[in-house]
Symmetry: C2
Amino acid sequence: MTEPTLDIIAIGNAIVDVIARADDAFIEAEGIDKGSMRLVDTETAEGLYGRMAAGIEASGGSAANTVAGIAALGGKCAFIGQIADDQLGEVFAHDIRSLGVKFETAARAGDPPTARCLILVTPDAQRTMNTFLGASQFLPAAALDRELIASAAILYLEGYLWDPEQPRAAMRAAIDVARAAGRKVAFTLSDAFCISRHRDDFRALIDDGLLDILFANEGEILSLNETEDFDAAVDATAAKVPLLVVTRSEQGAIAVKEGQRYAVPAEPIDQIVDTTGAGDLFAAGFLAGQAQGRSVTDSLTMGAIAAAEVISHYGARPEADLKALVAARLG
Amino acid sequence: MTEPTLDIIAIGNAIVDVIARADDAFIEAEGIDKGSMRLVDTETAEGLYGRMAAGIEASGGSAANTVAGIAALGGKCAFIGQIADDQLGEVFAHDIRSLGVKFETAARAGDPPTARCLILVTPDAQRTMNTFLGASQFLPAAALDRELIASAAILYLEGYLWDPEQPRAAMRAAIDVARAAGRKVAFTLSDAFCISRHRDDFRALIDDGLLDILFANEGEILSLNETEDFDAAVDATAAKVPLLVVTRSEQGAIAVKEGQRYAVPAEPIDQIVDTTGAGDLFAAGFLAGQAQGRSVTDSLTMGAIAAAEVISHYGARPEADLKALVAARLG
């Protein structure tokens, strides 16, 4: 087994976010569950886009946000995801590469266009996401660079990408490659509704011992275990994965490793502007900490610092110097 | 002469801004004049984009920002500008329409793509703009809706659009339409370098009495008059235009109307994040005030309020509720 040359390689949706303000009445009139992510088809996406307010566009995608954060923290990362051969695809590729993330998945010609996520941010800073998967849902297993996957200490996968068939197969193939190379596999459950669509698959991944690190938020760990009892849910899942990380919004986050529970509070923040990317950046901070050989508690703190930064502005990628923020706190 | 049904119709570049942070060393290494706007060709734009940091995209364009601000303040506006039939063109059209601005210029098929402006924001919040004019430079006089122009109380033109030949001819034709309908013509000098390219033309517009309202900043009024003496420059130009508005950054702004000088201070602001759009939004506040029949001083104050809002965040379009900000101040 050779030494890994990359810290993290992630597979995820290659999405450009369109972020706009909306009030609660608009969300209700559109018949959307506030705070959730839903998949929309071209027609729904176009209709909603026509009705929503002016916004800004920024590169996004859950796992892509995470590697962007890890790279900002000094980690060596690569990303695999399907863009189309269009303007938004160029924007996505530019942004992730400019952060130093290796991204070489070839753009796909013709329709559908690059994925976009229409994100409505309500005055309470919650984000409601309407994802048009576009080209992202056509990531073929053939696009995987197996050598690159085998070269990374951790393979990181997003649950959202479990929805479309081709990327699901690609992620299963990637897990095999990583495990054969003796690498770790990390997975984020992404969203409670996503779990309700794929609970059996996600449970099977865990039961089969394919996941080394699992990320969830409170709603997700409850949904996975179909219970309302947080501690019972954490204990049940922690018994099956070597390292479980659960974020709890303003209550901070916990991790369970080999039966031992660790907890950190949320980082104080002046004003929450847009919670988009909070979970993604938490995972970034935690994984970057692990890659640097830090303790579980310090890795949790790095997650909390990165999450606090990203919710203080619009957009799901870090703007401030995360390395400096962590150095000021942990040295 | 019929009553106008629109407050303002603007003709300008239809641009999507790409906004990213850069340090002074990067600006210098690229050989760019910090704080200026330069026109770049496809090759330069692509090279610079490849080297610059990850950013966000937001609709922009000087005159378009101004009508976006006027609409946010309750004014009835229309915009004329050339987009291409592509994703960024759709973004531009969506954003300006979602603000209630009438925008019906047909998208142009084929190359070049929709204009974009690569904006580098340095730690001092200054913006350095690299504009790839793209489709914007092919706005033909035939695209003008003459009836619509004649229906607006004020025709507003941006100096930047004087660079390419077709839009320049279109703007000259629009001035004729507006004047024949008994409407006012407002013009912004846009940029000191723009004036150095077109000083004779701009002076001729003024000398021929074609402009009723002229907007400039300090550097522009000096450049127009080729002097270093601010008061002399203001007096010289004010003698030739019925209403002159000059913005002075942190020193506030002045206006000269019929020999009388008015001044307001800059609005206090916590933190300047990105000065992109400051002049555009000042013009928006001022013109909205004039459309509402307010005094010159109150119109200047509205300009200062709108400018202060836009420099407190990234992007050149207002994010806060400008109407509420003005109501809290002026009633």
